[in-house]
């Protein structure tokens, strides 16, 4: 797994990456009550706001971690946003995307670096 400074995790699956938010981020957000996902097939640029996530406390966004195309979204989260708190780094993935430059992943934090980042 790779991690961004925006507290997303990325897992490579074949020629795609699966993206979610870290357990640390889910804990900070609190109980998630609403999720809005992008359309499948959307072309995105790094740092585009592509997911809206609302907790009992506040609204926040998830940014596209890299340039690419959204290939699949996890519709189950829309029905059951609480999955994000229950299993943030497993079942509660947000979207899959094809990224233009897989080597960009090499610059991202690994688990050890992320743990250090969040202190």
């Amino acid at each position: 797994m790779k991690f961004t400074e925006e507290h997303e995790w990325l897992r490579v699956e074949g020629d795609e990456v699966v993206v979610g938010i870290t357990a640390h981020a889910a804990e900070q957000l609190g109980d998630v009550v609403f999720i809005e996902l992008p359309d499948e097939g959307t072309t995105v640029s790094k740092d585009d706001e592509i997911v809206v996530i609302e907790s009992v406390k506040a609204a926040s966004d998830i940014l596209a971690p890299l340039d690419g195309e959204i290939t699949e979204v996890n519709e189950a989260l829309v029905e059951e946003p609480s999955k994000v708190n229950e299993d943030p780094e497993g079942e509660a993935w947000f979207f899959k995307m094809k990224i233009e430059d897989m080597s960009a992943l090499d610059d991202m934090m690994d688990e050890a670096a992320y743990k250090k980042y969040i202190g």
């Binding site: 609190g30 109980d31 009550v33 609403f34 809005e36 809206v52 609302e54 009992v56 406390k57 506040a58 609204a59 829309v78 946003p81 609480s82 708190n85």
Partner: protein, 374 residues
């Protein structure tokens, strides 16, 4: 957070794993380990303990208790003189424009009045009361008492185990009750829409009392996060958000809290700041009104969300003043101000969320039926 004050229960909050945040100049627990959602639901089904010691507890005392009542009536449009001993009322300080400077609870405790005001306003409120009092009436902001709230359907059974007399109290009764070996001032009231009590306890006994209440299986500590969603579902105003110095009591839907004796034709008509406007609005209505708002979808409509009469209209007809997710309603809930012509329950409006007009319906308050013991 070094310049923030702490309540007497600070160490207890930390030991319970609370997440502390700055609120109204204090370090306060926003949530404990359960989290906002579970804390909210627990309070609605069992009982929750809240630390509200940041609020201002004020004593108005005079040799002639009537003098303090007369003076308080000069500041608020409520009937203070007619409030029986051992009873409490909701009220609000008004300003010359008819706006609301703060809301409060005041109780007739026999030889004195006991007033509870919001934390952020307490210094201003004390100054306001001192300025209005005759010589011989003292206004004392108490620093030696904490304030706890025990709320929820199990609150009575829990507190009655510590002193059976509390079970006999009705909604808005106040009484002196020995708890944790200390003289506590208990009112049957709260800010959740549930039955429950607010307990003013000497600082020296506060932690012991809180721990004794938390020792009951039915009681969980509840933070400010759930306090906000509980009061929002209950349709209760948060000062500075749903009511403020620019909103009148009529606009705010608080006319139920202005007794007949202070209205036109009443025994002590007017005589409070802003009476001209408020009395006129009581007769003729106001241009806008606070209403409940039920968003149709799952997206919360937060404070500041603009409301429109149609999907395409340019001019807003209102604004959300409190909004979020209602755990007991299991849907987003909100309240806000709309033009009076659009304030009827069932009126279809649109809220603009992230550039999109989403349907929202004017709803009657509260969202969750009150559990008061009347």
């Amino acid at each position: 957070m070094s310049d923030l004050k702490r309540t007497p229960l600070y160490d207890l909050h930390v030991s319970l794993g609370a997440k502390m945040v700055p609120f109204a100049g204090y370090e306060m627990p926003v949530q404990y380990k359960l989290g906002v959602m579970k804390e909210h639901l627990h309070c609605r089904t069992a009982a929750g303990l809240f630390d509200v010691s940041h609020m201002g507890q004020v004593i108005l005392r005079a040799d002639d208790p009537e003098a303090a009542k007369v003076a308080l009536e000069r500041l608020i449009p409520q009937d203070v003189l007619g409030l029986g001993e051992g009873r409490q009322r909701y009220g609000f300080f008004t300003n010359d424009d008819g706006g609301i400077e703060d809301d409060l609870m005041f109780a007739n405790r026999g030889d004195h009045l006991f007033v509870v005001v919001n934390a952020a306003c307490k210094e201003a409120d004390v100054a306001r009361m001192r300025a209005a009092m005759e010589p011989g009436v003292t206004v004392k902001l108490l620093e030696n008492r904490a304030l706890l709230a025990l709320q929820g359907p199990k609150a009575e059974a829990v507190l009655a185990e510590h002193h059976p007399s509390v079970a006999e109290m009705r909604f808005m009764d106040v009484a002196t009750v020995p708890l944790a070996g200390a003289e506590c001032w208990v009112s049957r009231s709260g800010y959740t829409g549930e039955d429950g009590y607010e307990i003013s306890v000497p600082v020296a006994a506060a932690t012991e009392l809180a721990q004794a209440l938390l020792a009951h299986e039915e009681v969980e500590a509840i933070g400010l996060g759930a306090r906000d969603s509980l009061r929002l579902e209950a349709g209760l105003c948060l000062y500075g958000h749903d009511i403020d110095s620019t909103t009148s009591p009529v606009e705010g839907g608080l006319t139920w809290a202005i007794q007949k004796s202070r209205r036109r034709g009443g025994a002590r008509e007017g005589g409070f700041p802003g009476a001209a406007r408020i009395l006129e609005e009581l007769t003729d209505g106001a241009a806008r009104r606070r209403v409940g708002l039920q968003p149709e979808g799952r997206a919360p409509m937060r404070e500041g969300t603009k409301l429109f009469a149609s999907e395409t209209s340019d001019t807003p007809v209102g604004i959300v003043t409190s909004g979020g997710f209602g755990p007991s309603v299991n849907a987003p809930v909100a309240m806000g101000y709309v033009e009076t012509a659009l304030s009827d329950t069932g009126t279809a409006l649109f809220g603009e969320v992230r550039g999109k007009r989403l349907p929202v319906t004017v709803a009657s308050l509260p969202f969750v039926a009150a559990g008061f013991k009347r």
